[in-house]
């Protein structure tokens, strides 16, 4: 959040070019013909990487704000039968009735699979004399080894309901305490959904089947659509990332400019206040604000988060602008304008503002990534958004649990944060370079 103070101070107007302008302004008042000099921005000749960053930012905004109109999935909807899935297309699933107390009728002579769907796989094998307990293992068919020990069963059948996916499994049954394999199956469960879940999700039944939506990026550990969550999370992240810098830079600029223009003891006091704010610990404030606003446990903390950022982060831009205003006010052309009888307001509007505006823009584009990052960090440690709302940071936090087995759940939101931060940083760099007259002259 700390604004870097190391930018080159921005002095686009050399004495020789600005002096006549100042005079011109003084003579012709606010005549329209006096606008020939670059009052607004230096010519926006952005570098190629700057343009690329600009495009990336636009794409991100489109993804986050327009995307949900196209991809209309509820980001907090949990597809319980599709936990931690990879990318998948829309498909239909059979409705089944779960019965956790299932028992087969009678004994069997050979190992049998009674049914195999993603809700349950029912296995039965011939009972063996003298065996008190059977161990049932499950592994992916293409992997060697027994895999995970599902259960120790005291009867010669077993119903597996544990996070079944539509992939090929190998089941192995052994007598407990021995290495001898009693039965082995390779099974691919067909897609299914329990009636209870279908009712809970409100899915219409069509001849015993329901249609499940596609998940282009897969689902997370609670069965939520990752694409929809990236959009929803980005909305929080970018909103915080844009609103907070807007507010604190606006406030910082105003404060810095007033201090610079007022000068004297007022300026002195104002700058000591800035020093004081810089010394405050951000995290502590963040927590205090949550308490002060009565944000109870489990409630969204986005508002105090933005407020804390505004309260703590305006100092950088205040200092920057004050320094700039001070140095500008000693420029000969400003003095000339003053001598020529121009009012304070006019000087500000004609000379100060155009000169600091590019700098404000640059600091804004640097503040955005750091705000995104702060939000991500706070959500990561649980001080930001509260479920069911989400943000990229919160999604990283969710995904870290399954990093080993399902890395995309953490890597995708992390990539979004990285792209956003990189794009805004690159844009900031490009804006600064574009605005720096010395660099421009060199090139």
């Amino acid at each position: 959040m700390k604004m870097s103070l190391s930018y080159d101070l921005f002095r686009p107007y050399s004495l020789s070019t600005t002096y006549p302008l100042a005079g011109d302004g003084a003579c012709s008042g606010n005549g329209p013909e006096s606008v020939e000099l670059p009052l607004a921005m230096p010519s926006p000749s952005l570098s190629r990487s700057g343009k690329l960053a600009g495009v990336a930012i636009v794409l991100l905004l489109v993804f986050v704000f327009i995307g949900p109109l196209v991809w209309q999935q509820d980001p907090s909807r949990q597809w319980l039968s599709q936990i931690s899935m990879g990318p998948s297309a829309s498909n239909s699933a059979r409705l089944v009735d779960n019965d956790s107390l299932w028992q087969p009728r009678g004994e069997v002579q050979t190992a049998v699979v009674h049914s195999a769907n993603t809700e349950f796989v029912r296995l039965q094998w011939p009972a063996v004399e003298g065996v008190h307990a059977y161990q049932v293992f499950r592994n992916f068919a293409e992997q060697s080894g027994l895999g995970i020990p599902l259960a120790v069963s005291r009867v010669a059948y077993y119903q597996d309901e544990l996070q079944l996916a539509e992939t090929r499994y190998r089941y192995t049954v052994k007598a407990e305490g021995s290495d001898k394999v009693l039965a082995e199956w390779e099974v691919t469960p067909e897609p299914a959904m329990s009636r209870f879940e279908a009712q809970l999700q409100g899915l219409p039944e069509q001849s015993g089947r329901v249609i499940l939506p596609a998940h282009p990026l897969g689902t997370d550990a609670l069965g939520r659509d990752i694409l929809a969550r990236l959009m929803a999370g980005g909305r929080t992240s970018l909103m915080v990332g844009l609103i907070a810098p807007c507010l604190f830079i606006a406030f910082g600029c105003l404060y810095g400019a007033l201090a610079g223009i007022a000068g004297g003891w007022l300026d002195n006091v104002a700058m000591r206040v800035v020093d004081f704010v810089i010394a405050l610990p951000f995290l502590l404030f963040m927590i205090l604000l949550r308490v002060a606003f009565g944000i109870g446990p489990g409630e969204d903390g986005v508002f105090p988060l933005i407020l804390a950022m505004v309260m703590m982060s305006w100092t950088g831009s205040a200092r920057l602008i004050r320094g700039q205003v001070l140095s500008l006010s000693q420029q000969p052309y400003v003095e000339a304008a003053r001598l020529a009888g121009m009012g304070r307001l006019q000087i500000i509007v004609r000379h100060m503002l155009p000169n600091v505006l590019p700098m404000i823009l640059v600091s804004f584009s640097f503040a955005v990534p750091s705000a995104i990052f702060t939000e991500a960090f706070l959500s990561f440690i649980g001080l930001g958004v509260a479920p069911p709302s989400t943000s990229w940071g919160a999604q990283c936090n969710d995904g870290i649990k399954t990093l080993l087995s399902h890395p995309q759940q953490m890597l995708l939101p992390a990539a979004m944060i990285s792209i956003a931060v990189l794009a805004f940083n690159t844009l900031g760099d490009a804006l600064r370079d574009a605005g720096d007259s010395r660099l421009r002259e060199l090139s």
Partner: protein, 557 residues
């Protein structure tokens, strides 16, 4: 053990977590390259979930301390390799309805060579009950005559129903029948203490390796706070010849299961617990995965204090009809071995002894009635609750949970199902363990995700949890029927009457829903193939290496 542990394991719970979370492991030589097992010097290296808060057996409450103390100390009895009770310091014993007698081994010694005497037990038990000791586990000594009054400061400690007859005989008198007393004597609060050591170090007792005495199979040769612990075989232990592993190093303190799994993969530790995040990886790498039922019950506890919506029975029934434990277990948790819970009593609770003489499980004899998830029924109940409460809409409910990732995941699942199924808003209040206990104590919740690990091998450790006089009944559930059933079972030694009362209690919990059982936890772990005979058990400290040994390498993995 005592203390609810939910997502964030409580002390005792932490220990399970240690186990569950795979706290323990073997290897030796913490420095340079630690090695998981060293057959030549018979050393193993493990990791510990966290450092124990105290090793004073009268004050310890957590699973880590229980693990360490079960190696460092020995009570009158101990749990053997097959899970049965065997002689510890006691050589013979006799249990009646009114009391018990124990005859101590003459060769049981402290690590300084002095014999373990009956007076050491008398002192330890009195010390644990003294109000100044403030032992959280004092209640576990309440079967002794006058124990409760002494603990409340109403009687001097000399009135405790235990006395030493000579150096090697201990006589115990009960307050009321206690058929499970023998199992209690294996618990850490019942372990002996040497009066001279406790007096000498006072509050610093057991704060360092040299500030306590050992009478168990191991001594603590080194305890660097925050860094490492090292156990060595106790040369003065009476059964030293039965102890095969000479040294247990604990150079890693981490509760992070992926860190533990990485240490295991690098052959630094000999045992590592797995969470669902490491499971697939462990399978892929071809490790043998072991499973162990921890005996702990996880549940949602409702707040019955005045003004709470959760005090309404129809409302609780609506949640019961909506939340199917098997969906939580099979879809969300995804840990094999974790069982959906439908009853106050986990499947591991022992039932009456069969006519054949073998132990049985309570649930095999008294199956629980299951409530199947039914959305329409849940909505009906909710409507009824609305009428009974005279409200038109429900305010947001607060769900208090621990701060582990798994806890949050579970909470988000409840949040979604309640919203989707009943339109209820659930706010998740995630707190660290201490803070969660504090909020539970204050009653600052509507629903709390809690857990309970059994303290002793008897059904009563679960049954009296929600009796109105129990401090751990955080929801302040108050049912005369429940209390009557608990008292009825507590005041008789007749197994038939006891278990009949317990069966009624089980049905009462399903009918009245003071809690919603969610799952029975299990621990998945990987273990070095050369390490054998490690005892995993619900009681008596887990895991236990007293009877473990290191096999010679087989030339393959």
């Amino acid at each position: 053990m005592k203390s609810h542990w939910g997502q964030r394991p409580s002390p005792f719970l932490i220990f399970f977590v240690a186990i569950f979370c795979g706290a323990l492991f073997f290897a030796h030589s913490p420095y340079a390259q630690a090695q998981a097992v060293d057959a030549q010097t018979s050393r193993i290296t493990l990791s510990l979930a966290t450092e124990p808060p105290t090793l004073n057996s009268a004050q310890a409450t957590d699973t880590i301390a229980n693990f360490l103390l079960s190696h460092l100390m020995e009570g009158l009895l101990r749990y053997g390799q097959d899970g049965s009770l065997q002689g510890g310091v006691a050589e013979r014993w006799e249990l009646t309805e009114t009391g018990a007698r124990f005859w101590l081994r003459k060769n049981a010694r402290w690590s300084d060579g002095k014999p373990v005497t009956a007076d050491d037990f008398v002192f330890a038990w009195r010390y644990a009950l003294k109000p100044e000791t403030a032992s959280q586990y004092a209640f576990i000594l309440y079967p002794l005559r006058n124990a409760e009054a002494i603990n409340r400061g109403e009687l001097p400690v000399e009135n405790l129903g235990v006395r030493a007859v000579g150096a090697h005989e201990l006589r115990v008198e009960f307050e009321k029948p206690c058929p499970y007393f023998l199992g209690l004597t294996a618990f850490m609060s019942y372990m002996p203490l040497r009066e001279d050591m406790v007096q000498r170090w006072q509050r610093a007792y057991a704060a360092d390796a040299d500030k306590l005495l050992y009478n168990g199979p191991y001594i603590m040769s080194e305890w660097i706070h925050g860094a490492s612990i090292r156990l060595r075989r106790n040369p003065n232990y009476w059964g030293r010849n039965e102890v095969a592993i000479a040294e247990i190093d604990l150079p890693y303190f981490t509760a992070d299961t992926s860190a533990q799994f990485n240490l295991f993969r690098d052959k630094r530790i000999a045992l590592a617990s797995l969470d669902s995040g490491q499971l697939d990886k462990a399978v892929e790498q071809g490790f043998d995965i072991h499973q162990f039922q921890t005996g702990a019950l996880f549940f949602l506890e409702f707040n019955f204090r005045k003004g709470r919506i959760t005090a309404n029975k129809s409302f609780r029934k609506a949640l019961q009809a909506l939340l199917d434990p098997s969906i939580l277990v099979n879809k969300i948790l995804g840990m094999p071995g974790v069982l959906p819970a439908y009853s106050l009593f986990p499947t591991t609770v022992t039932g009456p002894i069969r006519s054949t003489g073998e132990a049985s499980y309570f649930r095999d004899q008294f199956p629980v009635r299951r409530v199947t998830a039914n959305l329409d029924q849940a909505r009906d109940y909710l409507e009824r609750a609305k009428k009974e409460l005279g409200i038109t809409a429900f305010p947001p409910l607060h769900l208090l949970v621990g701060d582990s990732p798994r806890a949050l995941q579970e909470a988000e699942y409840y949040q979604y199902v309640l919203k989707r199924g009943l339109g209820l808003e659930l706010r998740i209040d995630q707190q660290i363990f201490k803070q969660r206990l504090e909020k539970m104590r204050r009653g600052d919740f509507d629903i709390v995700a809690a857990a309970w690990g059994p303290d002793y091998d008897d059904i009563m450790t679960f049954a009296d949890l929600f009796s109105s006089w129990n401090d751990n009944n955080r929801g302040r559930y108050n049912s005369p029927h429940y209390d009557a059933l608990v008292s009825q079972a507590a005041n008789t030694a007749d197994p038939k009457l006891r278990f009949q009362a317990m069966a009624e209690l089980q049905e009462l919990v399903v009918e009245d829903v003071p809690i919603l059982p969610t799952y029975e936890s299990a621990s998945l772990y990987v273990q070095h193939p050369q390490l054998r005979g490690v005892r995993r058990s619900i009681f008596g400290g887990d895991p236990n290496f007293r009877d473990a040994w290191i096999a010679l390498p087989e030339g393959k993995r």
